[in-house]
Amino acid sequence: MNEWIRNRGLSALIVAAVALGAAGLWIRPEEGIDAMPGFYPLTGISIVVAVVLAVRVLRGWLWRPEDEYDAD
């Protein structure tokens, strides 16, 4: 499974994203916040990019040795 994910996973995701994105042009709510075209794809991409980048920037700031609290 790991090999399949490595070799085909990204391609499968791109195909799925294109198909879903195209479907979303026609099938979307008529009213409400999520009626905006591309609301869900943009939300998914932006939050993942923001969170992963934030975690990479913040890593190490809150890291301490494993025995930090061992004296308790």
């Binding site: 499974m1 790991n2 994910i5 996973g9 990204l10 995701l13 791109i14 799925a16 994203a17 879903l20 994105g21 479907a23 979303g24 099938i27 979307r28 709510p29 409400g32 916040i33 999520d34 905006m36 609301f39 869900y40 794809p41 943009l42 939300t43 998914g44 991409i45 932006s46 939050i47 993942v48 990019v49 969170v51 992963v52 980048l53 934030a54 975690v55 990479r56 913040l58 890593r59 809150l62 890291w63 301490r64 040795p65 494993e66 025995d67 930090e68 609290y69 308790d72």
Partner: protein, 565 residues
């Protein structure tokens, strides 16, 4: 005790029997929730009320309605599943504590007044800490003490709030409050500790991963959920909770993506879901409160499933650290399949009951009129959920290449039955139309199962995964996990406050020693006075008593003198 509290009594009697039985504890643990469920089915229905008298006070012991009964049913299911999961271990303490804990949870959500709620609130703390201590390690003992401090403190604050409300002449029924009095604020803080508000949450990731196997499973079902229940009962529509809920959901994101201990990852992820629920309580409309009720049920189910799976991994592989796992999918295919269901539910994937509950929560927030970016942020948490459970737990433990050779067998049959039952519930509630209607006690007519919502949620998850896959290919993946301590607010009371206290004590000690040395030096000088001679030596206890009595007599005379003038 009113007969309507019989289900609670059955759990307590079951706890007693499990504690006393030699080899019967696992079966008592299975039979008790079944018996309690039969009693609940017989005695409880929306509108049932019962009072009891305690020391000349009449208390509303039971006020059942759709919301409280949904929680009661959930706690029974959680107890039964956990008891089946633990069937192969004959551990009397864990079985007894689990039953007492569930009984206290049932009592708390049925409580009609704040005093009854407080009684079961404290029972929850006392019974649940046994589940932490049951692991029997020095680490779990210390974590249990910290857990107990927070939870008992929550009870003390709740009691203070009840007292303040009573003194101000307020009604003490469990019902809507407004934040216009100290008593109401104290209630909010007490409920916030239990629900895991940011800064008050550190007992959750501290104690849950360090507790016993049964404890780490069942603890996710009751304590924080009773906190959410109490908030929904008393502060629904309180706008402050919108902000607190959002912060609660955002706070743990760093930890869920970096933490090495996967049970700690799940403990933090609990906060993400609770944050969504708290925000929906802040929205306060019928859609949101239906969403809170249903999402509590779904959250407990998929968290039980994931904690059970990690428990099975711990039993078989001896660790739940991401940095030491990998490749378990081949040897534990059943467990991996159950984790996959948990991952889908955690991400709110259509086809699971959690999709319905998350869309209800978000629908309630949308109806409350929150701004579009805020709505998008809370919607996007599902995508992050896919990362922290999908990538961290499913991929790193089961799919990624093994870090070291693994020769383990799959989970035992009782474990598989328990996990399989929960997985079926999660899928059935998502696939069978109308199955979740009974868990929507506020009667909203919002229909979240629409083609547009289903497509939107799948888009969200697929695009999020694609974004992460592209980032990983570009070398921007999540940091490698490893053995380390991640600082959280617990650092304040485990490091900062003790270090300040030690410095203050050192400073006082230094001052005292310097003063003592000066007095002794003075005492040794020829012709030194009686003060130096007296203060420079250590005093016997009798001398202390003498001076205390002397001071009291002086104070007495001073008081008499003042009263006469």
């Amino acid at each position: 005790m009113p007969i309507e509290l019989l289900p609670v009594g059955i759990f307590y009697v079951g706890a007693l029997l499990a504690a006393l039985g030699r080899d019967t504890a696992p079966w008592v643990a299975v039979a008790t929730p079944l018996a309690a469920a039969a009693a609940s089915f017989w005695l409880l229905a929306p509108g049932v009320a019962a009072d009891w008298s305690v020391m000349d006070y009449s208390l509303a012991a039971v006020r059942a309605d759709g919301m409280s009964l949904a929680f009661v049913a959930l706690f029974h299911v959680a107890a039964l599943a956990t008891a089946v999961y633990a069937l192969e271990w004959n551990d009397r303490l864990q079985a007894a504590a689990m039953l007492g804990y569930i009984g206290s949870g049932v009592g708390a959500v049925l409580a009609g007044d704040l005093v009854t709620l407080w009684l079961f609130w404290e029972m929850l703390a006392l019974t649940s800490v046994l589940l932490v201590w049951a692991r029997g390690t020095a680490e779990s003992t210390a974590a249990g003490i910290r857990y107990l401090v927070f939870n008992v403190l929550s009870g003390v604050i709740l009691l203070a709030g009840i007292g303040a409300l009573a003194v101000a002449g307020n009604d003490l029924m469990v019902g809507p409050q407004t934040l216009d009095s100290p008593g109401a604020w104290l209630l909010l803080i007490a409920f916030g500790v239990k629900a895991g508000f940011p800064m008050l949450h550190s007992w959750i990731p501290d104690a849950y991963p360090k507790s016993s196997l049964v404890g780490s499973v069942i603890l996710v079902a009751v304590t924080t959920k009773v906190g959410v229940y109490a908030l929904a009962r008393t502060f629904a529509g309180e706008e402050l909770l919108l902000a607190i809920g959002t912060l609660t959901a955002l706070w743990p994101l760093y930890y869920v993506l970096v933490e090495d201990d996967l049970r700690r990852v799940l403990a933090y992820s609990l906060m993400v879901q609770i944050g969504l629920m708290i925000a929906a309580v802040g929205a306060g409309n019928a859609i949101a409160l239906d969403g809170v009720t249903l999402h509590v049920v779904m959250d407990v189910l998929f968290k039980l499933l994931l904690f059970m799976a990690l428990g099975a991994v711990f039993v078989r592989a001896g660790t739940v650290r991401a940095s030491e796992l990998g490749g378990l999918g081949k040897s534990m295919p059943w467990t991996m399949a159950f984790v996959a269901v948990g991952v889908l539910a955690n991400a709110g994937m259509p086809g699971t009951g959690a999709f319905v509950s998350k869309k209800l929560l978000l629908g309630g927030l949308e109806h409350a009129g929150i701004a579009a970016p805020w709505y998008a942020l809370l919607t996007g948490l599902s995508a992050v959920g896919l990362l922290y459970v999908g990538v961290r737990v499913l991929f790193e433990a089961f799919i990624a290449p093994a870090r070291k050779p693994v020769q383990v067998s799959d989970a035992s049959w009782p474990m598989r039955i328990a996990m399989g039952g929960i997985a079926l519930l999660l899928l059935a509630t998502g696939l069978v139309p109308g199955l979740t209607d009974a868990l929507r006690p506020f009667g909203s007519d919002y229909d979240p199962v629409k083609a547009t919502k289903i497509l939107g949620q799948i888009q969200l998850l697929v695009f999020a995964l694609l974004a992460y896959a592209l980032m990983a290919r570009a070398g921007l993946s999540l940091p490698q996990s490893g053995r380390r301590t991640l600082l959280d607010t617990e650092w304040i009371y485990r490091r900062l406050i003790p270090s300040i206290a030690i410095r203050v004590a050192d400073a006082l000690g230094g001052t005292s020693r310097a003063l003592g040395a000066w007095i002794r030096l003075y005492d040794r000088q020829p012709g030194s006075g009686w003060v130096g001679a007296s203060l420079g030596r250590s005093w016997p206890t009798g001398s202390m008593a003498f001076w205390t009595v002397t001071l009291l007599v002086v104070l007495l005379f001073a008081g008499v003198w003042k009263s006469q003038t």
